[in-house]
């Protein structure tokens, strides 16, 4: 089992969720995050005072899938979110040791 985690633009979350649902991924966790990368920050002006906001607002999505699904999920995320410009985000893949469904106590692939 693997965890695929992606930092993406916040307004892409809905599209990615729908695209992943279409390939039978049956769960996803999303969080609102801020960070910096190549994209850099943006300028905000308050009463003529300019502030450089270096942390950019992003969304982080996490899905746990069976090993053979990983490449498919990565493909779907890239297809949905790639615009070719700086700031599209990044995907990370981690190994997952155990997955347990709390309600039934099921473990492994059955619990995903």
């Amino acid at each position: 089992m693997k965890k695929v985690s992606a930092i993406i633009k916040p307004y892409m979350v809905e599209d990615v969720k729908n695209a992943l649902k279409a390939i039978d991924v049956n769960g996803l966790t999303k969080s609102n995050v801020e960070g910096f990368g190549k994209q850099g920050g943006h300028k905000e002006i308050y009463r003529s005072k300019e502030y450089c906001v270096q942390f950019v607002v992003k969304a982080k999505i996490e899905v746990i899938v069976q090993d053979e699904m990983v490449d498919k999920v990565i493909d779907v995320i890239i297809k949905t979110t790639r615009s070719g410009e700086i700031g599209d985000g990044k995907i990370f893949v981690y190994p997952v040791e155990r997955v347990i469904r709390i309600r039934t106590g099921e473990e492994g692939d059955k619990a995903i």
Partner: protein, 459 residues
């Protein structure tokens, strides 16, 4: 801390004791008044005429209007709390709002005990009122023709009280995010006593020297805005900049709050300016109209100036413009025509915009721009009143002229010098005795938690 609480408790107890005595006094006074009126009426005029002119000349329309206006001006203080609260960082939102809101408690009681009497009571040397009206002694339900012949004297008193509540709260924007709450309460009381009350007496009190000079200040350009603006400058000089000023980003945490606050200020300002006519009629309508027009013109002026110079028309710019325009029209609101108010609004918006920009270069941490908006806007308004005033609008006013402009300048300079020097001294004394600033740790933690033990948001 215990000492402070005990003193407050003592004040309340003595207030109640005094009230009982005063209630007895008041009935005595009313009887005396009745006797004096009948005897004087009998000696001066025919008895039949005395019957035709009743002792009370209360106008129900005026009274109803002024009750509503007083309530409108009251709303400006919580409006100001929202205006300022939105502009600070989220860890200071409650502390900042509380500095405005608590004035509704502190100033109300101080005004009742002695404030109203100092400001409007019988004159002493053209400088201050006497304490004859302390505890509202003699401030009854009959009109006081010296101030307002058609509404109960108590209504005039409460209308003026709302101004006294708002004015010190305006200063808090300058020293936002770093003032110790305990010291603030002390500052609130002494500032009201030694700056606001004398100034109000000079400008509005019977026999006050600026009033006698013929200076025009319809709704408080001097007493409210120039006084709070210059006192704000004094506080900034005494208390110093916020920790991390110019090194850290300190953007407003919630401009929607600021927008709501601006809207409430604008709304309340109708009571502030139109109500300063003290009657419902042509003058109040004129003041209402010019107030709104000036605010609108200033929104456009500030927004366009910022758009041209900084490249974006910001929301905070539009909101700041509205307040700047309202400040600028305040002293002239009962003396100028609608077209003049367009110019006053534009001038207020532009001059305040440039004043706020200049602050950056001077390096003062006037956190929420009280000097730039209220001080400078008040000055612009007071001087332009000397230019645009016309007796066509208000026969009790004057026509714009060099002579009038000179009087306006004298009164502006007097207000600036007086409020700056006295505020500076008061702050130095409070600083020596109690300390003005919160500790570094408390400042990092934020006023909400360190001063009040609460957080503004829990999500």
């Amino acid at each position: 801390m215990k000492k402070v609480l005990f003193t407050m408790l003592f004040c309340f107890i003595s207030l109640f004791a005094f009230n009982i005595i005063q209630a007895e006094d008041l009935t005595g006074i009313q009887e005396e008044n009745a006797v004096v009126e009948t005897t004087s009426a009998a000696s001066v005029a025919e008895p039949t005429e005395a019957v035709v002119t009743p002792a009370s000349t209360i106008d129900t329309g005026d009274t109803a209007f002024m009750l509503v206006c007083s309530a409108l001006v009251m709303l400006m203080t919580p409006g100001l709390a929202l205006f300022y609260g939105g502009m600070v960082r989220r860890k200071n939102v409650l502390g900042t709002m509380m500095q405005s809101f608590v004035a509704l408690g502190v100033v109300t009681i101080a005004w009742v005990i002695y404030g109203y009497s100092l400001a409007f009571g019988p004159d002493i040397g053209h400088l201050i009122g006497s304490l004859k009206w302390a505890f509202l002694n003699g401030v009854g339900l009959d009109p006081n023709p010296d101030y307002s012949a058609t509404i109960p004297h108590q209504l005039f008193m409460i209308f003026q009280m709302m101004f006294a509540v708002l004015t010190p709260a305006l200063i808090t924007g300058a020293f936002a995010e770093r003032f110790k709450f305990k010291s603030y309460l002390i500052f609130l009381v002494v500032w009201l006593t030694f700056v606001y009350c004398p100034l109000a007496h000079w400008v509005w009190g019977v026999d006050g020297w600026i009033r006698n000079l013929g200076g025009l200040d319809f709704a408080g350009g001097l007493v409210v805005h120039i006084a709070s603006g210059t006192s704000a400058l004094a506080t900034i000089l005494v208390i110093g900049t916020r920790r991390g000023y110019k090194k850290e980003n300190m953007p407003p945490h919630s401009l929607p709050l600021t927008l709501l606050g601006t809207a409430l200020l604008w709304f309340g300002w109708f009571g502030f300016n139109a109500g300063s006519a003290l009657s419902a009629g042509q003058l109040s309508a004129s003041a209402f109209v010019v107030t709104h027009i000036a605010a609108g013109a200033a929104v456009l002026a500030w927004m366009c100036a910022e758009w041209l110079i900084r490249g974006k028309a910001t929301v905070l710019g539009a909101l700041s413009g509205a307040v700047a325009g309202l400040v600028a029209i305040t002293p002239g609101s009962g003396f100028v025509t609608p077209i003049s108010s367009v110019f006053i609004g534009i001038a207020g918006g532009l001059v305040c915009f440039f004043a706020v920009n200049m602050k950056e270069k001077l390096g003062y941490d006037d956190s929420l721009d009280v000097v730039g908006v209220h001080g400078v806007g008040g000055m612009v308004g007071a001087l332009l009143t000397g230019v645009f005033a016309t007796t066509l609008v208000n026969s009790a006013g004057a026509n714009g002229s060099f002579a009038l402009l000179k009087i306006q300048m004298i009164s502006v300079v007097a207000a600036i010098v007086y409020s700056f020097i006295v505020s500076f001294i008061l702050l130095k004394i409070i600083d020596k005795m109690f300390g003005l600033r919160v500790t570094d740790k408390e400042e990092l933690q934020g006023l909400d938690l360190s001063q009040h033990g609460e957080s503004g948001y829990r999500f």
